[in-house]
Each structure stands twice: as C-alpha cells, then as structure tokens.
C-alpha cells in the first residue's frame, strides 16, 4: 500500500503562498489497488508523482509512505534505503538504467545483496533471464540490444531484487506497438503492486484504478474507463 499524506513538491519550498512554484500540489491518496495508472499530458506532474513513491523525489511538505511486506509504513524521507528495496523503478529510457556491460551482469548486479558468491549469483541471474525469455542474450552487450529488449532487461533487473511494488515511468513510450504491448502485458501480469505513469491509454484502461494528473493536481481518480473519458474530454 502507498500513502500520500499532504505530499507536495515545490521548486522553491522556502517561499510561501503564491510565490511558490509547485510541481505537485498537496496530495492525499491511499493506493491499495494492484494496478494503478497515472495519466495526463506532458509536464502535468505524472513523473513527479511516480518518483515520489520510490523516493527519487522527496516531498517538500507532507509525507509519502509505502508499506513493507509486514504492513509497517516506511517513510520515503526517513527510510530511504528500505523504500528503495521495497519499490522498484523502471524508467522511460532503459539505456540509462542498465549499469553493467552485459545482460547477465546487469541482472547479477541486482542480486549482489542476496548472493555474495559469484557462481550462485550468476545462476540466480540466469534463472531470472530465463523467466523473462532473455537467457539467449545473457552474454550480449546491453548496448547492442533493441529498445524492447533493453526495456525488458531493465524490468528483469529491477524485479530480480524482489521489490513488492513496481513503479514504471512511461515504460512503453519509446517502444513500437508490438514491444509496447509485450511490456504492457508483462507489467499488468506481475504479482507486484504496479504504479505506471503512461501515455498509453490502452495500458491504462487495463489497470484497476487510474489517476488523471493535470497542472500538478489529481483532477480525476477512479475507474480507468471514466478517468480516460475525462482525459479525452479535456484534450
């Protein structure tokens, strides 16, 4: 479960009132559904909202909390490292997210905490790659992969660390239709709670709940069909 408790993000938090430029206005939300879509135009605050969940962006006022496996709340400011272990994050541009030179090594990097011995780590990484249909590419350089393969690998590398929540920031924006569908289906089928900021309304429609963000405010929240209809009406 994810809680936004009056969480806001301002560019200049020291100023007050109208002088303050807010990227995200105070937000009170409890996200308990398994698959949540965040939609809205460019620059609306979708990515900021998504980044708040993982602690990549910290609230300048209020708090964001995610619950651990036992149900205890973790504050993104006070418990940053635990929050990052609990919440995986997938970026729009996978190339920046892949840290190691080869496919196997990148997944293995996520497993360093669990497996100190390299042989065990590689075996576990290979098992992850097999799960995602990437085992044949294990020794390939990550920068020779196609965009779809890179995004799939980025997701595999994040999920290898075993997060309970996955946040994806426009994960299908740079992909062709086939790869966008493939990644979308993969994300929707995960056991993890999913928060996906997206322009892909087909993907958003298949979620359990949707939030429409505009001008740094959530202006619609509820059933994806209704929220998408509202979004279309504002365009």
């Amino acid at each position: 479960m994810i809680e936004f408790d009056g969480a806001e993000v301002a560019l200049d938090p020291d100023r007050t009132g109208d002088e303050q430029v807010r990227i995200l206005h105070p937000l009170d939300l409890v996200l308990a559904e398994r698959r949540i879509a965040v939609i809205g135009p460019n620059g609306s605050g979708k990515s900021t909202l998504a980044r708040l969940v993982n602690g990549l962006v910290l609230p300048t006022a209020g708090a964001v909390r995610v619950h651990d496996a036992a149900g205890s709340p973790l504050d993104t400011i006070d418990d940053g490292a635990q929050v990052r272990r609990r919440v995986g994050f997938v970026f729009t541009q996978p190339a920046a997210q892949l840290v190691m030179p080869t496919v196997l090594e990148d997944v293995a990097l996520s497993l360093r905490r669990e497996h100190r011995r390299r042989a065990e780590r590689d075996a576990a990484a290979l098992a992850v790659l097999e799960r995602f249909g990437l085992a044949a590419l294990a020794d390939r350089s990550v920068h020779t992969l196609s965009g779809g393969q890179q995004q799939l690998l980025a997701i595999a590398s994040v999920l290898a660390a075993g997060p309970g929540i996955l946040v994806a920031d426009e994960p299908t924006t740079l992909l062709d239709l086939r790869n966008a569908r493939r990644i979308g289906e993969l994300l929707l089928g995960l056991d993890q709670q999913l928060v996906v900021a997206t322009h892909d309304l087909e993907l958003a429609a298949q979620c359990d709940r949707a939030l429409l963000v505009e001008g740094g405010r959530v202006i619609a929240d509820g059933d994806p069909a209704d929220v998408i209809a509202r979004y279309r009406a504002t365009v």
Partner: protein, 201 residues
C-alpha cells in the same frame, strides 16, 4: 570477449596483479638500465604484451583498433621524448607504454566486467578499515566499463545530427550536444542507480 584461453581461465585478481607488476617492471627498467638494455627491455615487454593479446583472442581488426587508439598519444609521447632526450629514449618510452596498453587490453578482453569488479572489490576489502568502501569502488568501475560504449553512441549520434544540419565542420555543433547529452546521461544513470538502491549499503 568470451573465450576459453589460458588468460580467460586465469583469475582476474592474478591478472590485475600481473598487470601491476608488468607496469612497475617497465618503469623500473626504463629508469634503472642504460639506454640500450632499457630499449631491449621495452621491446621485449611489447612482444610479451602482444603475445598476451594474441592469447586473449585480441587479433586482426580488434588489435588494430587498440593500436590506432594508442597512435595519437603514442606519436605525441614519441615526439616529446625525442625532442627532450633523443630518439632512443623516445622509442624506449613509447614501446613500454604501448606494451602496457596492449597488456591492459588483453586483460580486459579476457575478463568479464563482473569478474573484474569482484576482484577489485575483494582486493580492496583490507582497506575498509581506512574508510575505503570496496563495493562503491567496484560499482564505480562497473559504471566506467558501461559508460564507454554509451559515450561512443552519444558521440556518433551528435556527429550525425551535426552532419544532418550541414554543420559537420562546426566543432561547436558537435561538442555542445555531446557534452550536454553526456551530462544528462550521467544524471539519468545516477537517478537509475539511486532507484535500484545501488550504493545504499
């Protein structure tokens, strides 16, 4: 580079240690010996480096690419040394430097990045008491390995973009987006690492 050569099978720690000894040996012989024996040692080191490269599978075009990469620096070093100390000293220093570059390339060609990072992390563990964080240093090396192909990709894209706008002879049109995109990439990588919790422990 994947392979099963004796160099591939050797532990990365041993290879790094051998490379360090090789480097110290080259510098020491150049400092301690008379010009002709020093030159003989420099050329012998070069032959040894080339042998290691061939064993590691670094042949043909790959080896040529390493040599061309060194050529710019090599010519400058040779010219400076020849001007300061004469051609024999210049040949000694340049051959020693080239031997080191070739040997280092043989080590990287025969070692997976992850093995290298593990060896560096293991090797630095005794320095933990002095405040060194081996995992962080290992991670920094991983990023350096990964950054190279990315830098080449960004450079090629920036060059193509400049060409497409008819600005191929304008260094600013190439350098400005290259620098900005490299910085942006570094920031994005930092955010990605933070998101993956790398460096948290």
């Amino acid at each position: 580079m994947p392979g099963s050569s004796p160099l591939h099978r050797l532990s990365p720690g041993v290879k790094l240690l051998a490379l360090a000894v090789f480097a110290v040996g080259i510098v020491a012989t150049q400092q301690a010996l008379a010009p002709i024996p020093a030159l003989v040692c420099g050329l012998a080191a070069l032959a040894l480096g080339l042998l290691a490269a061939v064993i590691a599978g670094l042949r043909g075009r790959r080896l040529l690419r390493v040599a061309l990469g060194f050529a710019v620096v090599g010519v400058l070093v040779f010219a400076f040394q020849a001007w300061q100390h004469g051609p024999m000293r210049a040949l000694t220093v340049t051959s020693g430097l080239f031997a080191l570059v070739i040997a280092a390339s043989a080590v990287t060609a025969s070692t997976r990045a992850e093995e290298m990072v593990d060896a560096i992390t293991r090797g630095l563990r005794p320095f933990r008491r002095f405040g060194v964080d081996p995992d962080r240093v290992g991670l920094a090396f991983s990023l350096a390995f990964r950054a190279l192909p990315e830098a080449f990709r960004i450079a090629a894209e920036s060059r193509d973009a400049a060409r497409a706008r008819g600005l191929s002879r304008n260094p600013r049109a190439y350098a400005t987006p290259l620098v900005i995109r490299m910085v942006a990439h570094a920031r994005a990588t930092g955010a990605a690492m933070q998101a993956r919790g790398l460096g948290d422990d």
